[in-house]
Symmetry: C2
Subunit: 298 residues, 2 copies
């Protein structure tokens, strides 16, 4: 099959932070876009993005960023999705591919259905499994998405041509694209991302609230560094994710606490064999795990 060359005239970027800025840079680096028109809620962010060459033109509103765009990316905290769709819907053409990068998908899709109505087919919900704890356009990186998984969660009304375009786009950026149902996505990421974030946040707070917390922290080493890296994540982004996916998250948290109590019981009993069996199981599961193990091309 000879697909037409993948090339966009204009990316309308709404949200010029780490995720959005990195997407713009990656697209430019791959030669996939002619111009990037960007909008951020804070004018100083938009200006900084232009100064850095992340975007080419500053738009004074989300609507104007979308005007003339054949590709639109929403890179805003998930709770801002509905308001953003409302702001841009009047200038969305039926040929425009619209995506987001949110870590939860059901709430984003609900917002899209409510606002876009008949136009919802242009929206391809996307979640690139990438990020870093340093937010902001200053940390935008054209390689952020390279080699990562991207989960697309189309609904029955998603237009096949837009889904195909989205798949080609992320593949061209070096990503492994996987399609799954929004519900399955939210359940899986509650377990492997949202819960680990909540745990890391809670651990930091538990230590910080102790009398000797500061001293304890000064003694922490590389294990602690890696374990808590995600605790430095952006508060407004993670506020929205945790609240939005609360049912799955709390269900996963309960399973985790049950597993934690199994450790506590074995430890309190002073039962080394039981403790070793629990650690061994975890250690084997983690040693076997490989990131992107289901990479389509080996």
């Amino acid at each position: 099959m000879n697909a037409p060359t993948l090339k966009f005239e204009q990316l309308g970027l709404i949200g010029c932070g780490l995720m959005g800025g990195s997407f713009a840079l990656a697209l430019k680096k791959a030669g996939l876009v002619k111009r990037v028109v960007g909008y951020s809620k804070s004018p100083s962010t938009t200006e900084r993005a232009r100064q850095m060459g992340v975007i080419d033109i500053e738009a004074p509103s989300a609507l104007l960023a979308v005007s003339g765009a054949d590709l639109v990316l929403l890179a805003v905290p998930v709770s801002a999705t509905e308001a953003t769709f409302k702001a841009i819907r009047h200038l969305l053409s039926k040929d425009t591919l619209v995506m987001d990068v949110g870590s939860t998908k059901r709430d984003v899709i609900d917002a899209a259905r409510r606002v876009l109505k008949d136009q919802v087919g242009v929206f391809v919900p996307a979640h690139p499994i990438a990020g870093k704890e340093l937010a902001g356009v200053e940390n935008a990186d054209p390689e952020l998405y390279y080699g990562r998984q991207v989960i697309l969660t189309p609904i029955e009304r998603t237009e096949p041509v837009q889904l195909a375009k989205a798949t080609r786009l992320w593949t061209a950026l070096g990503c492994q694209v996987q399609t799954m149902a929004p519900e399955a996505h939210d359940a899986a990421y509650a377990a492997v991302s949202h819960l680990p974030h909540m745990i890391a946040f809670a651990l930091m707070n538990a230590i910080a609230d102790q009398e000797h917390g500061k001293e304890f922290l000064s003694l922490a080493g590389p294990g602690f560094r890696d374990f808590t890296r995600i605790a430095a994540s952006d508060p407004s982004v993670w506020r929205d994710i945790l609240v939005s996916n609360r049912e799955e998250l709390i269900a996963q948290s309960r399973l985790f606490q049950r597993a934690l109590r199994a450790f506590e019981a074995a430890i309190a009993d002073g039962n080394p064999d039981a403790v070793e069996a629990l650690v061994d199981k975890a250690s084997q599961a983690r040693s076997r795990w490989r990131m992107n193990a289901n990479k389509p091309h080996g």
Copy 2:
């Protein structure tokens, strides 16, 4: 003060795994030792250590590794400490510096007092804050300790000359040496190391035990990778640490679970402001944190 050159005739290494092997390699690289005589419970480990040049001579017993040594390192799971002291005490001279590398200190010191009795002053309890999830002599690395903190927890009977020797030795390996009370050590590391390990183990088990656990794991990304790295740690080492420091560990686990429930409550209430305040506190604490912030030389 003109201290005599720090140089040892013979390191008696008991336990030729990751920690012990890395110590021998670091000592050799720094030119601080003439020969390394090593013993491991498993003869094949000892042989492998010699083949790799980690040790120079294989000893058929812990006692024979110590024979003629002016420096002894115990690098065994902490529960093996007492038996090891019993095996070597008859050949310990009063000039020999004896150290361990255990992650808990009160239990190790109790074992030393019980077995070494009058000789306990030669023992300087040590905990280098270093490691990796790949155990075994194959992963020994002369740089493992470089730039890391080392906590020494002397007791009132520890000989000052041995403590000074230990401090010079670790400093010569590029470590930042800090002295603290064994109780303070065990409380601090329950919070910043033992609890994070137990949490990472419990999370792996909670996911692995679910119906869709395997699928969930295949979707996990770099946040999960770093968060769970410590879950791959050595089961026999961590069995001992968790059991040995159980009181402090369970106390810390309770504080953590209280912090976790604060998140769950705010999330279940659908209260984004409360969730953001909790995340913000954690994110700020983690963003401010620097490893080795109390590095003595800047």
